[in-house]
Amino acid sequence: MSAQRGRPLSDTPRLRRPWRVVSADLLVVSGAGLLIVFLTWSAWARYALPSDQISLVLATTAAACAAMGAVLAAVVHRMSTNRGAAWISAALTMYGVVVVPAITIGTTVDRGAPVVMAIRFVAPVIMITLLFIAVWSPPRRHAIRPLTISLAGLSVVVAAAVLALVAPGATELVTSNAGSWIGLACSLCLAGFALALVSVARGSAPLARVGIGMAVIGLGYAYKVSKHAPVNEVGLTYASVRLLGVLVMLVGLVQLARVTLQIAHEAHLEHQEELRLAKVGLARVEERDHELRNGIAGLAGMTHLLVDSNIDDSGSLCVTVSAELARLESMLANSAENTRSVYLTGSVISDLTALRKRAGMNIHCEVEDDLWTEGSRNALAQVLTNVLANCARHAPGSPVRVWAFRWRGRIRICVSDSGPGVPPGQEDLAFARGTRGEHSQGQGLGLHICRELLAADGATIELCSAVPTGATVVVELPLIARPRAHADVAAVASAG
């Protein structure tokens, strides 16, 4: 995307500074947290609301949102190289599928059952471990699937439950200790804040939101375990704060998924464009192949004729064959790398005329000094070769005059012969493909190709009838100032 002057790119995501986003988030989230605490502690909420039922509804919503977040994180992981997302997805699965139900179940079954207590303790431990791994994001040689991690975590939970059944005493030892629950809550906070900090450092505001959400959940949990005993009911404040944390996390993951999708979409469009350009290039090559095949068929035909000894016109056949070869060559030159450069027009002209003179053409050339131009030297050489070949064919033996000079701020190269010329009014027709003189033997040797070759450099070619006879081809090229490097060399040369 080279030139997008003046217009903003509306479709590229604007990068805001993550720490600013995150501090605003922190403000909003702590405000919402305080509001929740204030509301749920008010006398109205304590006595007028059916706290248990509302807590259940909030728990269900939190579990569902955590599951949604897990799916989004898994999608992000699959669509990008974000390694942390796989671990976050597994942690959220653990949270939505095991942790929230295990905490909520305390209100309906036997409160102190060792199996429930073991699950309630082990599931958050696994979740926190997964979060720390997400913060660390270890590079792995093999792709790891969120589902595999989740299943591994679940099997650890099942193992813990079995252990609690077998040895309830040992489980009791851990779960009856208030310190282990506080430690759990603090670890969750720590994991959340670590994720937020690392994400800010890596410049990812959405992932920082996930971290903040986790930390909020951790704070809520810390409040719960310090206020109520862990076996007690959920509590409206905890349920609300937990939902707040899960929602903040979900917002972050939705954003992350959106950005990931946007990037994937951009990449998709770019690939589409590259594929299309390749296709267009291929089609051009096919067109050229078609032309080359036609040329080869013609050359094969000519060879067939030349082998036949009863053709007496072999001289003119040779001219036609060489003209066709020049055409095929120029076609290939057109497609090959035609590098632009700054060059002296005069050097190209004198090289070519010298070549023609040696081949026996009566050619005279006058070139002004310092006719610098910019473009493809090869293209000009091809064009002049074609023009001179035309002179040789249409006006054999006639003197050819080439002169190059400044003309209205451009370079003008005129090539004239004194052959039959072109009928007036048909000058432009000569540039149609395959046009040739009525009595000419030869190929209408692509004056249109010359025009196309020159057009790329901002140059033109015209065919004029000369007075009294003959044809003049006028090539005009852009004139540029003498390049500095050459000016210095010239100055040194003249000084020395």
């Binding site: 995307m1 080279s2 030139a3 997008q4 217009r7 790119l9 509306s10 479709d11 469009l269 589409q272 464009e273 594929l275 299309r276 350009l277 390749a278 296709k279 267009v280 290039g281 089609a283 051009r284 067109e287 192949d289 078609h290 032309e291 095949r293 036609n294 040329g295 080869i296 068929a297 013609g298 050359l299 094969a300 035909g301 000519m302 060879t303 067939h304 004729l305 036949d308 009863n310 053709i311 016109d313 036609t320 064959v321 003209a323 066709e324 027709l429 149609a432 493909r433 395959g434 046009t435 040739r436 033997q441 030869g442 190929q443 209408g444």
Partner: protein
């Protein structure tokens, strides 16, 4: 003088060599530079009826359009000429259309010149170049290609004028950013237009859209 053969090909080296070779075999061979269908038909009217050796792709007309060999076959048949198709490449739809329009057969330029010469002479002598079964299969192919072309034209006609322009630019190999620049619109607008083009053409990628446009009739091959 022998049987009349008129060679219609925009590649003059080819037509010149074929004309000279046919003359060497005693045929009354002529060549014409196809700068338009009227030129071909006029030339055909001036000569005694015989065999036309017609190139499939006759290049650009002076008015800028493309001359497709098959389009002139019917006119030549009406004037009593037999038509033999030569082509530089295996352009199946073009050959099928020409045979459906009444051409007696086709021959590839890429086969050896001797073989090509033999086929032309065989056609001039009135020998049949293909069996009835081959003829029928060409006709069936032509029907399939025509159905495809109609379907293509139907889809292309759904495009708005601007969408057609965008598609043309895409097919010429311009980047979406360059097209946005060209029409002085945002990249988003061009992307929306491209998406709409893909939907209307019932394709899933820009590559297919461009390929589709290139297959459409009345375009350069």
């Amino acid at each position: 003088m022998g049987f009349t053969v008129l060679i219609v090909d925009d590649h003059e080296l080819f037509s010149t060599s074929l004309r000279m070779a046919l003359r060497a075999h005693g045929l009354d061979a002529h060549q014409v530079t196809p700068s338009g269908f009227d030129v071909i038909l006029r030339q055909a009217e001036e000569l005694p009826n015989g065999l036309i050796v017609l190139d499939l792709d006759l290049g650009k007309a002076p008015d800028g359009g493309w001359l497709h060999g098959p389009d002139v076959v019917t006119g030549l048949r009406e004037r009593g000429w037999k038509v033999l198709i030569v082509s530089g490449s295996q352009d199946q739809p073009g050959i099928a259309a020409a045979i459906a329009a009444g051409a007696i057969g086709s021959v590839l330029k890429t086969s050896s010149f001797g073989a090509l010469l033999e086929t032309v002479i065989a056609a001039a002598e009135g020998r049949s170049l293909m069996t009835e079964a081959q003829h029928q299969s060409w006709l069936a192919l032509d029907r399939t290609y025509r159905a495809k072309e109609r379907e293509l034209a139907r889809r292309l006609s759904r495009l708005s004028r601007r969408e057609q322009e965008v598609l043309e630019l895409l097919a010429e190999g311009h980047r979406a950013a360059a097209i946005a620049e060209h029409f002085v619109v945002s990249m988003t607008t061009v992307r929306t237009q491209i998406r709409s083009i893909l939907t209307k053409l019932e394709v899933s990628s820009q590559l297919e859209a461009v390929a589709l446009l290139r297959q459409a009739p009345d375009r350069e091959p």
